[in-house]
Symmetry: C2
Subunit: 355 residues, 2 copies
Amino acid sequence: MKIAVLPGDGIGTEIVAEAVKVLDALNLPFKMESALVGGAAYDAHGHPLPPATLKLAKDSDAILFGAVGDWKYDKLDRPLRPEQAILGLRKELGLFANFRPAICYEQLVGASSLKPELIAGLDILIIRELTGDIYFGQPRGRRIATDGHFPGAEEAFDTMRYARPEIERIAHVAFQAARKRNKKVTSVDKANVLETFQFWKDVVTEVHTEYPDVELQHMYVDNAAMQLVKAPKAFDVVVTGNMFGDILSDEASMLTGSIGMLPSASLNSKGQGLYEPSHGSAPDIAGKGIANPLATILSAAMMLRFSLNQEASAQRIEAAVQKVLAQGLRTVDIYSEGTTKVSTREMGDAVVAAL
Amino acid sequence: MKIAVLPGDGIGTEIVAEAVKVLDALNLPFKMESALVGGAAYDAHGHPLPPATLKLAKDSDAILFGAVGDWKYDKLDRPLRPEQAILGLRKELGLFANFRPAICYEQLVGASSLKPELIAGLDILIIRELTGDIYFGQPRGRRIATDGHFPGAEEAFDTMRYARPEIERIAHVAFQAARKRNKKVTSVDKANVLETFQFWKDVVTEVHTEYPDVELQHMYVDNAAMQLVKAPKAFDVVVTGNMFGDILSDEASMLTGSIGMLPSASLNSKGQGLYEPSHGSAPDIAGKGIANPLATILSAAMMLRFSLNQEASAQRIEAAVQKVLAQGLRTVDIYSEGTTKVSTREMGDAVVAAL
Ligand SMILES: CC(C)[C@H](C(=O)O)[C@@H](O)C(=O)O
Ligand SMILES: CC(C)[C@H](C(=O)O)[C@@H](O)C(=O)O
C-alpha cells in the first residue's frame, strides 16, 4: 500500500507533517512518498501539477493532500495557478465523489456563528459531485457574441452539463452513505431554471427506487442555502453537483465555526482517494506554527477508512482527537478562555500521545 | 403614473392587499391596475404570464408583485409553471438589476440563527444581475453526449454566459449604490474555475477605475458563502451574477432571521421596476390571514423611491413600519414572547395608522 503525500503551499507543509507523524505512530504496513504540488511545484518545476507528481498520485492507493494557493500566484495564467493542481488531480484520477462532513464538536460549539441550540450535535454529510458540471464542461472560453442580449459584444461562456451515468453513480454513493447514517438524502438542484438540474432531479429520483429504505427530499439550491442557516440539523446527507456543492459545503463548514477541524475525502470508482482538510492554504499564517493540524489528521483517518481498509486505526485517530479536545488543547483558531493554547506541532504530538 | 398590481399565488393576494391599502392611504396621483400572474393566471388562462398581464406590466411605471408558485403546479411542463412568470417578466422588461437588501431590524435580532453580536445592525445590499448568466443562456437542453466523460450517454446542459455590456451596467449600478452607502463593493465570482467569471472579474475591475472613491474587493463565491456566515457585517454592497446571486441573496436574507421583512426591487435601464418581497408564496399558510405583509409594504416603499420618484412617501412608509415594530406588533413569523401577535390585515391597518 502506498500513500502519496502532497503538502502543497502555505500551511500545507506544517499540517501535513503532523498528520504524517500520526500515521507513522500507527506503525502500519504502508509506504509514504512525498512530492511537490501547487505553487511549490510551480516554483520548482514551472507547473502546479508536474508529471512526476501526477504519476505518484496515480500509482498510490491514497493521497494525503495539504492545501494549495498563495496570493503571489494570482497573476499567473490560469493553467499555471496552484488550484489547477487540485482540479487536475480530480480529473486525472476521476475522483468524482467528494465527502465533506460538517460536524460540530461538543467542545467547540461556542466557536460557531450560530446559536448553540441550532448547531450543537450537528453531523451532516455533504456529498459533492467533483468531476463534472460547469467545472469541466466544454465548450468554454471567450468570443464575440452572435446572439443573446448583445450580439457583437465580447463575451465569456462556460457549459454546465451532466450525463446520466455521472448522476447515477453519485446518487448511489449518496444513498449508500445515507444507509449507514440517518437514511435521509436531500438532493439539491435548480430544476426550476436549469435543464441540467431538471435532469439531475429526474435521475436521482430514478436511482432512489433502488433504495426504498432511504428517504429522498428535493430542494432548490437557494432554499438549501437558507435552510442550512435556519435549521442545519434537519439535514442528514446532502447530495449535489460540483458548483452548488462548492458553495454549500463551504457554507456548511463555516456554520460549525471550526473549519479547522473538518476533513474531506474525494474518491474514484476504484477506491483511490484524495484526502485533504476542508480549509485552505492560509498563506497569512503560514510558517508561524499556529495552524490547526486536526482537519488534516482527521483526513488521514478518513484515508485509513475509505482507501486503506484500516477502520480500527481510523477510529484510533478519531478517538485521540476527541481526547486532546477533552484535554482542553486548542490551536489559536479554536481557542477560547479556559482552554490551553498549543502550536501546530504540540497539537500533533498530543494526538500521537493520545493514540 | 401607473402601477401594475400582480398578487400571484399563495399568500401573494393577502400581502399585496395590505401594500395596496398602504399606497391608497398616501393619496398619491397614480393608478393601480391588477392582473393575474403565476398559477392563478395558469388556472384562469392556461399560462402563467398571459399576454394581457405582460402588456399591463410593460405599460406600467412599476409592478407590485406578490409571489408565485404552489406544489400543485409541480407536475406541469416547465414553460407553464408559475415561476416562468417571474422569469418572463424579468426577461421581457429587461429587469437586469436586482436589489436585495439584507437588513436586521433592531427589534428582531432575536429571530436570527446567528448570535446577536454578529447580526445586530446588519445592513448589506446584494445586487444580483437578473437577466443574464445560466438562467437565460442558450443553448440548453437534452441530447446524447458526443464528448465528455460518457460519450453516447443521455445528458442535459445549460450555458453560462455574460457579455461585456451586461457586466458593465450591473457594475455601474453597484458602484453607484455603494457611493450612497459605505463605499465598498464586494464582487463575487468564481474566476479560478469559470471563464465567465474571470471575464466578470476583469470587467468589474475596469469599471472600477471610474469609481476611485469606492473600494472594490473580489471574493470567490464559496468564500462569500462562508464570510456571510462568519462576519456578515463586513459587507456593504455585494454584486454578483444571476446564479450566485440567487444563492447568496437567499442565504443573506435568512441570516437576518426575518425574511418576512425584506423587500426587493428589480430594475431596468428605463427606471421601470418590479417590486416584490424576498420570501415566496408560502402555500402552506395561504388563506389563513397570518402572513407578514411588511416585506411587501417595504417593497412598495422601494417602488415609490426607485420608480415613482416619491422619496418622501417611501420614507413615510419605512418610518411607519419602524413604528409598528416599536409598538410591539408582530405577525407569527416574527413573534416572540412579550410582543403582540397580529394578523396580516391588522398589521396592514397598523402601518396605515402609523403613516
Ligand atoms: C480551489 C478551487 C478550484 C476548489 C473548487 O472550487 O473546487 C476549492 O474551492 C474546493 O472546494 O476544493
Ligand atoms: C422562482 C425562481 C425562478 C427565482 C430565481 O431563481 O430567480 C427565485 O428563486 C428568485 O430568486 O426570485
